[in-house]
Amino acid sequence: MRTAVSELDMTSASSLDEALRALRDEKRTPIAGATDLYVALNFGTLEQRKFLDIWAVDELRNISERGDMLVLGALATYTSMIRSPLVVKRLPMLVEAARQVGGAQIQNRGTIGGNIANGSPAGDSLPVLAAADAVVVLRSADAERRVPITEYYTSYRASVMRPDELIVAVEIPPVEGKQWFRKVGTRAAQAISKIVVAGVRSAEPRISFGSVAPTVMRVPLTERALASGAGIDEAVRVLAQEIAPIDDIRSTAEYRLRVATNLLRRFWTETA
């Protein structure tokens, strides 16, 4: 590990109350499955030195229904979502995304809350949450608030979450329509996405892309074009104007734009 362990300060919380008190009293980065943070630590690229390990906060592990909401506890792992009959029934595109996150080893540790908190524009679950109009539940020692995932990120890897807050759950309203998910990476297993997309086909289609902007994004202009019956060719033209991907270590803007428009066509054909 390229970061000296002796520089690190890690305490563990065993209950939500304990975790929230710790975050109120000092600035610590919560650490759940560690699948992103420890990669950065290994490479010596992580700035943070003080952590709050929340892996043992079992009350954040539940997957349940509350009213008509599907509620994913922040520590629900990809494996637990794949195995959850509720998620399989209500949000199959999330199961599809979870299956493609790394191998079993990563699926066993990576959590939905961690994927949100890490805030990578390539986070595989994020387009699913955006297309499903998911709501992030943030709690501090004093209060709880709800933020739609589409309003959660403010810029690249930045969000509205305050340092004293913890993501405790994600709420997902019922999703009407056919769900679709596709990830394009260098290889089938393990790869970080070059581009990732989730879509819901209904009278008012909902489509969300990852890795085409500083944050996960819905494409409202494209959605409106499709909802108005404009046809897929017109929608593809709108999409090409609506997204502005960049060149980076994983891909190029040109490739991403081409693949994004191809994926939009694929979504439209496969959900017809």
Binding site: S6, M10, V39, F43, D53, A56, A104, Q105, R109
Partner: protein, 155 residues
């Protein structure tokens, strides 16, 4: 802190943020667990925590407090899968082998070839081309290559 290691209680006096792999190799002297990529991509460092495969290179040791950790040494060199990896030449350079074996242990009985591939999707091998590995795992679970459609690759 303490955890169960290969069936026995283990006390370690280590930094809570230390990586599990470093504690296993350096403090516990169990060097069967290999470090490959150090970023959770290659699976060489796979161990079981409470029976589930994980990458020990990206887990702080604090997270195994009171859990049960199983490394390849816990198989005592006597596990049928270990013998099958030898018989089927599922190991060449050997770096990926402990991780492959630990990941394969999570498979239930009579898996399809696709299920074997999925279970081992988080484990990279740069020598064997995987066929011999899949063959060893399929045999261990009572399957032969011919039992599974699309199995020409393991024939």
């Amino acid at each position: 802190m303490r955890f169960m290691l290969n069936g026995a209680v283990k006390e370690v006096a280590t930094h809570p943020a230390a990586r599990l792999i470093d504690v296993l190799r350096e403090e516990c002297g169990l060097t069967g667990t290999k470090e490959g990529c150090g970023e959770g991509e290659c699976g060489a460092c796979t161990v079981l925590i409470d029976g589930e495969p994980v990458c020990s290179c990206i887990i702080p040791v604090a997270q195994v407090a009171d859990a049960e950790v199983t490394t390849v040494e816990g198989l005592n060199g006597e596990h049928p899968l270990q013998k099958l990896f030898m018989d089927e030449v599922g190991a060449q350079c050997g770096i990926c082998t402990p991780g492959m074996i630990m990941a394969a242990l999570s498979l239930g009985p009579a898996p399809t070839l696709d299920e074997v591939r999925t279970a081992l999707a988080g484990n990279l091998c740069r020598c064997t081309g995987y066929s011999a590995i899949y063959r060893a795992v399929m045999k261990w679970r009572g399957m032969t290559a011919g039992d599974t459609p699309g199995s020409a690759v393991v024939a």
